[in-house]
């Protein structure tokens, strides 16, 4: 029974195990599953073990029992595209009017809802022969578009499902906000960073080691000998360098920064620096990259055990990376090509990673990403990527 359903789930990418499938059958035998509603909840709680897959489950369920379309990228992305388009509209009404081919004054009369509807209509007409129908969004530079499932309003999830059929509920896709492609939130990053622990004993010997005390006492023939030890504390130093120039990085800066601040208590020392596009001879301690320069040569004296995180999209014109004096900022004229500076940092800190907010499958399209990826191990700025980065940093 339901073997097809099981394989539908497996095919859409939910990690389901045969054991749990058998458990589901055990559940069916208990007599508690009497309707499609019951089956929906029962099989979800038994087969799906993370809320991140709830959304996929809903879609697969609706597909299997109602025959709706399985996840289809264009349909899913439409809302997000529409949202980005709205932002764009607020910023540059004229450009949008041109792109949609209507008059600007006419455009201004539309309510946001009407605008989205109009846009969707256009998009539907255009699919097929006009593949780049939404290309202007990309060229407009609003890169959050790839960042699917971005909901400015935060989590928006339904709670009660009393009067709806399971398929309706499934079609609601209440768990969209939790799916893997969702935005990186602070708790998620905090969770990943928590693994960055490097506990070593420090401080006075003021903790009683009871096991050792007992052992030593027994060895002494019952004469009590109390063994003290030092408590454990994290001695890890972390340097965080963030690319805060260019608005492609904007959505990530605050998240990254607050998260590292949040994790600060775990590290002995956390310093944050800023750069634009790539690092030349100087990093900046202030976000305006003006008042507090920090020559990277000074890092040579730093503790080589320090973990270096560089966060940036690593996308720029190749000359910015390769040419001496390649910086687009006139005041940054060091005579050393940026790539040498990066190599210097990589040599200085053996524990360094580059976190890239761009999706990994896009990296190959940008030359500088590949080049930098050869210097620093590069990871995606996502939950999985962070996890891998932390794992990598702790491995050595």
């Amino acid at each position: 029974m339901f073997i097809d359903f099981f394989y539908t789930l497996k095919n859409v990418g939910i990690p389901v195990s045969p054991t749990s499938f058998l458990t589901l059958h055990r559940a069916l035998r208990t007599g508690l599953v009497n309707s499609l509603n019951d089956f929906y909840t029962a099989s979800r709680s038994i087969l799906v073990k993370s809320e991140r897959y709830f959304d996929l489950y809903d879609q697969a369920f609706a597909h299997h029992f109602e025959g709706t379309e399985l996840p289809d990228v264009s349909g899913v992305e439409l809302d997000d595209i529409a949202r980005v388009m709205l932002d764009q509209w607020l910023k540059e009404p004229r450009a949008l009017a041109e792109a949609l081919g209507i008059d600007e004054s006419e455009l201004n009369r539309l309510t946001p809802e009407e605008l989205i509807e109009y846009f969707k209509e256009r998009l539907k007409e255009q699919t097929g022969e006009h593949h780049g129908g939404s290309r202007w969004i990309g060229t407009g530079g609003t890169s959050p578009v790839g960042h699917s499932g971005y909901h400015p309003g935060g989590m928006r999830v339904g709670g009660v499902s009393r009067n709806k059929s399971a398929v309706k509920v499934a079609l609601d896709r209440r768990y969209r906000d939790y799916s893997l492609s969702g935005p990186l939130t602070r708790p998620m990053v905090g969770e990943a960073l928590k693994r960055l622990r490097n506990l070593v004993p420090v401080g006075p010997k003021d903790r009683v080691n009871i096991d050792e005390t007992l052992y030593q006492t027994m060895k002494n023939g019952g004469e009590i000998e109390i063994v003290f030890e030092r408590s454990l504390k994290d001695r890890l130093k972390v340097i965080l360098a963030i690319d805060n120039g260019g608005y492609s990085m904007d959505p990530y800066i605050s998240v990254v920064q607050t998260v590292f601040d949040y994790a600060r208590s775990q590290f002995k020392d956390l310093k944050t620096y800023f750069f634009h596009n790539t690092i030349y001879s100087t990093l900046w301690g202030d976000s305006a990259r003006f008042r507090k320069p920090k020559p990277i040569a000074e890092f040579a004296a730093a503790d080589s055990q320090t973990r270096l995180f560089i966060v940036g999209d690593a996308s720029m014109a190749p000359y910015e990376l390769m040419v001496a004096d390649g910086s687009i900022h006139i005041e940054e004229r060091s005579g050393t090509p940026s790539i040498e500076c990066l190599k210097f940092l990589a040599d200085t800190f053996s524990h360094a990673v580059w976190l890239n907010p761009m999706p990994e499958d896009m990296w190959n399209y940008t030359q500088t990403v590949k080049t930098i990826g050869r210097i620093f191990p590069m990871f995606e700025l996502s939950i999985d990527g962070l996890e891998k980065a932390v794992h990598f940093l702790m491995a050595k």
Binding site: L32, K49, E51, G153, G158, G159
Partner: protein, 284 residues
């Protein structure tokens, strides 16, 4: 499946508002005798649920609050070596020093296993402990038994407790662990549900106050840049504070005059930011 167990159905408790979906998941988990893993934002009532189940099924509740330094054996039993050492040196207790069993004390899981009746065992915030803890616990929960190494004795569960495990983590627990649990994610209640929850706690609440406080609460939650969003617990405390204040008028809330923000926001930065936004009338 004994008849007794089938009759034990969970339908809700006096102070807990349950949605149907969750109720059926709990009943299935109980029927399958599998632990139920609950995840969700803080303040969605994960811990309260276990209390509610225990209350409605009239079973004793055993709570294991997981701590970061915890080893599994602490949750199972403790061999109180210090007392034994003390007794052996001074010998002024009624315990038999040569009988180690006198010095074994049951931990929370041990208590649930050895209890006379079926209990509800709540393992709270399992993500706090390291992964070893979870992995070690697998066998214990699977086999429903554990060994006391010191006296070479196996403790078998007399009755399988109803096990509720909660986790705050946004990260998943280990796969083998998940494989042995049923899973549910409690979403943050919608305004409608929230009104029911408030009504359960404050049966005589003024309708206007209810409406305005819930609206204000969800607006405050939607603010950007808040580190710790207020949750159900905070809302209930806040409503309590509002009702306790004789000078308070519910109308004030709608105009953006929100007292007792400190009850809702527990971090000084969040509080500051809220005050700032409210002053600028950005929110209302």
């Amino acid at each position: 499946m004994s008849g007794k167990r089938e009759s034990a159905h969970f339908t809700g408790a006096t102070r807990y508002v349950l949605d149907d979906e969750l109720a059926s998941i709990i009943n299935i988990s109980m029927a399958l005798e599998m632990p139920l893993l609950l995840k969700g934002e803080p303040g969605t009532g994960k811990t309260m649920l276990a209390h509610a189940i225990a209350e409605s099924l009239k079973m004793p509740l055993v709570v294991l609050n997981v701590k970061s330094s915890m080893k599994l054996v602490d949750a199972l039993y403790q061999y109180d070596t210090l007392t034994r050492l003390n007794d052996s040196r001074f010998g002024d207790s009624s315990r038999n020093v040569s009988n180690i069993e006198d010095y074994i004390r049951m931990g929370k899981i041990g208590q649930a296993f050895t209890a006379d009746r079926r209990t509800v065992l709540l393992i709270d915030e399992i993500d706090k402990a390291d992964t070893d803890f979870q992995d070690d616990m697998l066998d214990v929960l699977d086999q429903m038994e554990f060994d006391i190494i010191e006296i070479d004795k196996t403790i078998k569960a007399r009755t399988r407790p109803v096990i509720i495990i909660t986790s705050n983590a946004k990260k998943d627990l280990s796969d083998p662990f998940l494989g042995r649990c049923n899973f549910h994610h409690i979403a943050f209640p919608e305004p409608k549900m929230m009104r029911n929850i408030i009504a359960v706690h404050f049966p005589n609440l003024d309708a206007e106050l209810m409406e305005n406080s819930v609206t204000a609460f969800y607006r405050l939650r939607e603010m950007e840049g808040i580190e710790k969003k207020p949750a159900t617990r905070e809302l209930l405390n806040w409503v309590r504070a509002l009702t306790a204040d004789p000078d308070f008028k519910p109308k004030k809330l709608a105009t953006g005059d929100i007292p007792y923000l400190g009850v809702l926001f527990k971090k000084s930065q969040d509080l500051q930011r809220t005050n700032e936004l409210l002053r600028r009338r950005r929110l209302f």
